[in-house]
């Protein structure tokens, strides 16, 4: 078995993408605190979080740096919730995916330490595990959102009035007459609102199928991306850009390196994880 000393480029890209996404969420969380007057807490979390993310970017301090960055995000988010009773829900994806990545990195470190396994692979082997765990958490966010709707409303969530009222509350007062005509058509067409609500519920609840890998992973990821775009168009809610970003980043499954899996390399999308 030949081991490649270099990390695959897709893995490096995902690591950088995670850094960018986590940095964006940190900035939003801390910026929110600063904008509301909590200068000290906001600036401290921003500085410590930035330092942690820098450490995460280096392989040597990845786990420690990532942990510090995550801790800064927790303090900023919980601080805002305690001080103002609210924090930005759309920033949760950055912390959650970072947590998933760190979980995978930690698992790999434990595995290497416990087994002294010569097949543990090169230094970047942990990143492969981390990437898969980050995807697991990304799926969990959507499954949670779908399950919340099932638990609270059940099938009533796809009742025509639900989505019609949500679109009306968010979008209709603020759009120009031409756009309003289209939105109003959606609102007054019960079949359309029920269909869109049903698709949303299906996509969210079934997000775990991305873990099965292959083409299904990309198919479902792009379904969720379409869902976010639809929500943006129908309600004007554009805050979930971080979710869109992570879905795009994690949409495609890359071939597992042979030195890690111990198997014959597979081409993209030929086989589940």
């Amino acid at each position: 078995m030949t081991e490649s000393p270099n990390a695959p480029i897709w893995l490096a890209r995902r690591r950088v993408a995670l850094l960018v996404g986590a940095a964006f969420c940190t900035l939003v969380l801390c910026g929110d605190l600063i904008a509301r007057g909590a200068w000290g807490m906001g600036a401290s979390c921003l500085g410590i979080g930035g330092l942690g993310l820098w450490g995460f970017g280096t392989r040597r301090w990845a786990l420690l740096g990532g942990g510090i960055a995550l801790a800064a995000m927790v303090v900023a988010a919980e601080g805002a919730r305690q001080l103002y009773g609210y924090n930005s829900r759309f920033t949760y994806v950055g912390g959650a995916v970072l947590l998933g990545w760190l979980f995978g990195t930690g698992l790999h470190a434990i595995r290497v330490r416990m087994s002294a396994d010569v097949h543990a692979g090169p230094a970047w082997a942990g990143d492969v595990l981390a990437e898969r765990c980050a995807l697991g958490v990304l799926c969990a966010l959507y499954v949670n959102s779908g399950c919340s709707k099932w638990v609270v409303s059940g099938f009533l969530w796809v009742a025509p009035e639900n989505l019609a009222a949500l679109i009306t509350a968010h979008a209709l007062p603020g759009v120009e007459p031409g756009v309003m005509g289209t939105l109003e058509w959606v609102v007054v067409t019960p079949t359309m609102t029920s269909l869109l609500a049903g698709i949303t519920l299906l996509l969210e609840t079934g997000a775990f199928v991305m873990l099965l890998g292959g083409r299904l992973r990309a198919f479902w990821a792009f379904g969720l991306i379409a869902m976010h775009v639809g929500i943006g168009l129908l309600t004007g809610t554009i805050w979930y850009v971080a979710n869109l970003f992570f879905l795009l980043v994690f949409a495609f499954e890359e071939a597992a390196p042979p030195s890690i899996s111990g198997e014959t390399p597979v081409s993209l999308g030929d086989q589940p994880l």
Binding site: Y92, G104, C133, V137, A140
Partner: protein, 145 residues
């Protein structure tokens, strides 16, 4: 079997599990937004122009307003008077408008081009979506004299 497959499912299960135990602790959440659904009538607090179109929604506009009595208006009381409790509304959207209002008793209501309204959408009926407005105050943009 690849060794990371169970690890990914494990990360998934742990996140879901903790989220339902501690649903508010960052970065865990069950994302319950709008899980309870929405219904008509729908209420919005808006600043609108003469056409009834919302103004300043995308910009950081500050509204200078005056009530019909010539001073500040207690919005909570005014909205409660509209029997708001039974209607669906999105608190943060109304809060954005509320936070952008600066009450100025020196303004003359008749001269101001915009209106702060409590808009109620009654629900779809015969292919249309009707609404009615209750004017709470008259307003103008922050930079306008």
């Amino acid at each position: 079997m690849n060794s990371w497959k169970p690890a990914a499912w494990c990360a998934f299960a742990i996140y879901v599990g903790i989220s339902w135990i501690a649903p508010e602790f960052y970065p865990f959440s069950t994302f319950p937004m709008y899980a309870g659904g929405a219904h008509f009538p729908v209420d919005r607090l808006l600043v609108v122009d003469a056409r009834g179109m919302s103004v300043g929604r995308e910009k950081s506009v500050e509204y200078r307003c005056v009530s019909s009595s010539g001073g500040a208006l207690d919005l909570e009381t005014a909205l409660a008077a509209s029997s708001r409790d039974g209607a669906f509304h999105v608190p943060y959207l109304d809060a954005e408008v509320r936070e952008a209002i600066r009450w100025e008793s020196s303004l003359t209501a008749e001269d101001l081009p915009w209106a702060l309204v409590h808009r109620r959408f009654l629900g779809p009926s015969e292919g249309r979506l009707d609404h009615r407005d209750r004017v709470l105050a008259k307003c103008v943009g922050g930079g306008h004299d």
